[in-house]
Amino acid sequence: MPLVSTNRLHKFFGTNHVLRGIKLDVEEGEVVTIVGRSGSGKSTLLRTLNGLESIDDGVIEVDGATLEVDRADASALRNLRQKVGMVFQQFNLFPHLSAGQNVMLAPQVVKRTPKKEAEEIARRMLERVGLAEKFDAFPDQLSGGQQQRVAIARALAMSPRVLLCDEITSALDPELVNEVLGVVRQLAGEGMTLIMVTHEMRFAREVSDKLVFMHEGKIHESGHPQAMFAKPATAEFASFIGSLN
């Protein structure tokens, strides 16, 4: 059984039909990269997976937590979100809290983890992203790359079953991109289930088990990245690759 599965997923923004029947299965430990042109619905798809965007039809299932239209009440959402972590393009660290407190907050508040234990978790997570020494630093004292790594640690501290990453290197200066990709590569190596949207095509080809090409709100083509790049099955994906270089 897949860890993440969506079926018949539809989303409208007003009259704009943004997701048009998405069926996506992600196995445990799989790394899935979603690519596609701007406006094709990549971010929207990711955001529906943890209920940041409501859906208008269909069903989302993550590790037994189900989200359906009309059944997206607060407890269903909370249940789902405990299983799905997310990292954003803009980091979104809490600026009034230190790096360590950023990571500790949700375990303490949501999981009622005692402070001491939460602190241990936070130290472990920061070490995992190579920032053990930055526990007491505030977000505005960190570089973009460091902030993004703290954001990853913050998500990991809730022990999510799957991590969503929406263009997490797009806001970074080029020289800081690799330190963040390095952390993602390491997570993939550890068997973390990842669903990401990225423009780093070389990286996507290297780490992904599955590539998903979105076009006009649908999954237009998907498969193994090497195979897809070697032999695009649709004209749209071929033209998308063409536009990359």
Binding site: G51, R81, N92, F94, L105, A106, A155
Partner: protein, 216 residues
Amino acid sequence: MMTFSLWDIVRNLLIGGALTLLLSLVAFALGGATGLLVLFARIGKWRAPRALAQMHIELFQGTPLLLQLFTLFFGLSLFGLDVPAWLAAGLGLTLFTSAFLAEIWRGCVEAVPRGQWEASACLAMTYWEQMRHVILPQAMRLSIAPTVGFAVQVVKGTAVTSIIGFAELTKTGSMIANATFQPFLVYSLVALGYFILCYPLSRYAQALERSFHAAR
């Protein structure tokens, strides 16, 4: 005719000043507490409380404080309620303060970027957990300077209650001025009294503003 020494004048003004200070403190404390409730109603999900809060804010922001006091003072007595001046003054200023503070604070809550809501939602926090641990701490930092700034308005606003006969600083001043025939001296002292109350507050607001800009 009775004669007044300077000390007589000052002593009476000090009593009036103390009442002004007391009224300001009460209005600010109660108005702040009410304002917080109005704020949560105004930004909450429920429609009826939201509409009510909106009405409350528009009513008290959209009419002169003087008329609010008149309405309370004379209006309630129409219903046979005998409202003493101090009660009408305290109630009126509290309602006035709550409307303005709710609106100031709403601006601060809304100034917290949407990403903060989204990031905390992704961590499975509930609305009140988000509010308490993520949104309000940031909004509070933003609100300190404008809130202290508004406190100055409240202190000066208390002068209006003299019209319904509450013997705060201004009312005391006008009574003494009438009795002593020294309006210039007395009103200068009254003005000095307000200045002494307000100046530290506005300096404090400025200092906070500056330290906030320096920190970000």
